[in-house]
Amino acid sequence: MTLLNTPGRYLSGLFLAFFLATTSLALTQHLPNEEWQKLDGDLVSVMFPQGAEAEARRIAAYLDAYLPAMDATLDAGPLWKPFPVVLSASSHESNGYVGLAPRRSYFYNRPSSFSGSEWLRVLAIHEGRHIQQFSVSRNSPVGATLYVLLGELGPGFLIVALYPDWFLEGDAVLEETLWTRGGRGRMASFSLMRRTHELSGQRDNYYRAYLGTGRDAMPFVSHYDLGYFLVTYFRRHYGNDFFAEVLANTGNSLNWRFSRQILHRTGIPLTDHYQLAMDELNALWQAQQDSISLTTDLEDLPIPEADGWLGVYPLGYAGNQLLTLTAGVRQAPGLAWLDQEGYRFKTNAPMDLVRSYVTAIKERNYSLGGDRLCWVREQAHPRFALASFGNLQCQDLTSGKVTTLSRQEKYLSVAVSPDGNQLAALSFSQDRQVALHLLNDQGDQMAQWSLPYNSYPFDPSIDASGKRLVYSRLTEAGFSLHEFDLVSGEEHTLIAPTHAEAIRGPVYADRWIAYSSDYSGIDQIWLLDRSSGERFLAVQRPYGAYFPVYDAEQNRLVFSDYGPEGERLRAYRLPEQGQNDDWQALADVTVHPVHYFEPLLNDSHTALASLSDTELSGDRYDVSDLGWAEWGVRPYSWGAMAAGEGIAGTVYMTNVLDTLSLGLYADHDFTLDASSIVVDLEYRRWFPVLGLELGSKTNQQLDNGEISLAWRQNQVQASIGLPLAWRSDYRQHELLLHTGLGWNEQRSLIGNLTDDEAADALSLYSFGLTYAQGARGAFWDERLRRFWQTEWQWQGTLPQIEQPDWSRLTGQGQWGLPGLAANHAARLSLSGEHQRGSEAAVYRASDLPGARGYQEPLTREIGATLALDYRMPLLNLDQPLTSAIYLKRLSLGFSADTEWARRQGRERQRSSIGTTVFMPANLLSNRSLVVEPRASLYYLPESERYSAQLSFVLSGF
């Protein structure tokens, strides 16, 4: 409903209702030809595509086994039903989530080693815990009341506003650790950044450790590991049911805030608990570190010039040159050669390939052989993003040319032979079949061997002869190490499956196989004697050592050594024969893991964690095809308002597979005795996204509080759009094409519309195109520094229908450029429009951005605006204002705009120069709820005036 109520203002001539395609880049659908089925477990329903029944049965069996067991520590009450679980088998991503509006959980297919155990089991426990957490909110008195009033947004509001993210995720990580023999709580790499930060005396306060300023000593702060440690700390000290009591009262008692509940129950503020927990962990980690005999005979390799955290990772040797991957808080990810002359920058690297090096995942993505560097790139279908793939790509390091060797394959990782002529690639299919493929340099398959079903092989590496492959594997039984003969197809196990260590990054190193393992409690470099199979702890570092590569010319290992400033390259020379005296044989190694969860383990955990997958097969469940009800929509949010002379209500619905959305709005104005109704529909199952909006709305003009004019607007808008997104080299691309038709008319209810306003119904058309591309840079970058986008829109009345002739073309372009210093960003924007029409009254006011600092845009037939922005970091604030607002940092911006317009032969031009202070802040101690107040001051040279402006940008809803 449009309110035009400013006294003294003229009501417009003709009220054009512009339909603009409503398509946004919502690509989260599966391929439309997937046939979906449903399986009803005791507690949840699992939706799955045909062919994934065995996995769906296991998921249901896991949830039926684990949900009741886990409920003892949360007391969630009845599970929120139905809570559909969708097995997104076609995805090739390692993740999962639980969400509301509509409520559902998605399980993505691809395993990863960071789970430390069988993928679907860990996912079922982690996401199952989130379903329980959400059920607590739904079952609480306030949540139940809000649900009646607002639908799922009611309990959702409680979760966002009152449950800290660190609790939601930390609680789930603790459960996944307790109820399996793996889980992130058992893995040394999970605590790597926080442990290093703590032991090097850099402890942040609670708010910064949780929310971060965006410019922290680490590349990013993680609420996952912080939450795991805090939740474990509270349960160790205050009992297993501590959070059941805290949540039962959060939002439902006088001490309604989560942190107040903790204070109320313990007498100690949450911020102090954080310090106590870190003190406790500090003692444990320090004792662990004190037990290490550090390896000292190491050579420090040079690092690129750096300021702040920088990770440097060795990828492999070509002669005496080492290819490295670097990523820092001030440096964008890139590949660089290191030789005696120092570093030579080679090319940019995509952040999605770099993440497994920088984060706790610590998996190897790149493989170097000859003059080729190869990797597996996760690529989603450009339209249906839930169908994703792992494709082989190789870069010729001489020419720089990148070649994609596969299309829509499900590869996990790849190893290149030393001469670059052969590739050994590991794959994981939609139905969890696992294989090793031997390919020639063009990517053509020469041989294929099956590996165990549902296993996760990773970090492959080929020996100097090109005939043997070594790789790590994760299964339900744990991590193992294997060698594969690429000629005979025979495999033998070098290290049997175990949950006692995470085995990663194996490489051949002359007589040895070097790898990284946290057997001792910290990830260190180990050596396995290829002839005897004996294992030795060879290199010990204080925090963690990863990604060994072998330098054959100097018979040494080069690896990444983690420290407070990031990851540095160290070299360790191997003995020409025999072993070094300071190596420790496996049997002699002092095992000193910090398993903070261990006091919480009980027999129930152990019993369920030991149940094998075959014991949890879920054979008893019935399978049925997905019926119309599941494809259809279910209301997830609604609301009603009554105010003054009117009432209004809304209902929103979307189906679980995200293919259909429906919005309904209705109101009734008692003064006018008139009603409005709007129906908005979007269908996203097929390539084009179809939109339809039907509306009959009342509008009014108020003068001095009295209705001077009221009219009804009837409207039909139909749109069709095609959103696409894809990755190329190191950039992300997004494209949206859309077109639509609309019809609109107005009729007077009170007062009289002018002839122009009311005379004719209008039939309108619209075409639009938006394209954007950009790449993530350094962690501290203020905004994208490599970026451009353009947007074009054509609108007009349909020709050959008796109505005013009108059309408009608008275009915008933006270019993001690096600033003058690291992390600074510049942006140049150009926008313009051209309107033409048979009647001046149909011209529309510009909705393109004008020169900043002015109140109204210049209306125009032809016009353009040129704007230049510059944004730079100023300082870290790190200031909590009560517990509800956390001020993160200050950034400074400068702008220079000029705007030109021509209207009925009259030209106008104006400009502004401005400066803006940005101050992003977290609201309600929520990581994703960020408000950015902006204070701007503009100088307007034509009028020699100043204009001040305050604005707020909200994100995270």
Partner: protein, 70 residues
């Protein structure tokens, strides 16, 4: 509100940042007579005016309201 299995803070922001679609609420210090304060609550825009308020569904894209050119 979503509970994820893995969020490392690196990749998630990439798609969002390409298109700056955050909700902006503006209140201008100078020339405030034209400001129409509004809030966006769960997809429902609550528009506050001098004497009354209404709700209407909103979506990505420019507002449908129009006005006469000066």
């Amino acid at each position: 509100m979503e509970g994820e299995f893995n969020s490392d803070g690196i990749v998630v922001a990439e798609e969002i940042e390409l298109r700056e679609t955050d909700t902006e609420l503006e209140g201008k210090v100078s020339e405030v007579n034209d400001a129409k304060p509004s809030l966006n609550v769960g997809g429902v825009r609550v528009v506050v005016s001098n004497s009354t308020y209404r709700v209407k569904p909103t979506k990505i894209g420019p507002d449908l309201s129009t006005q006469r050119m000066e």
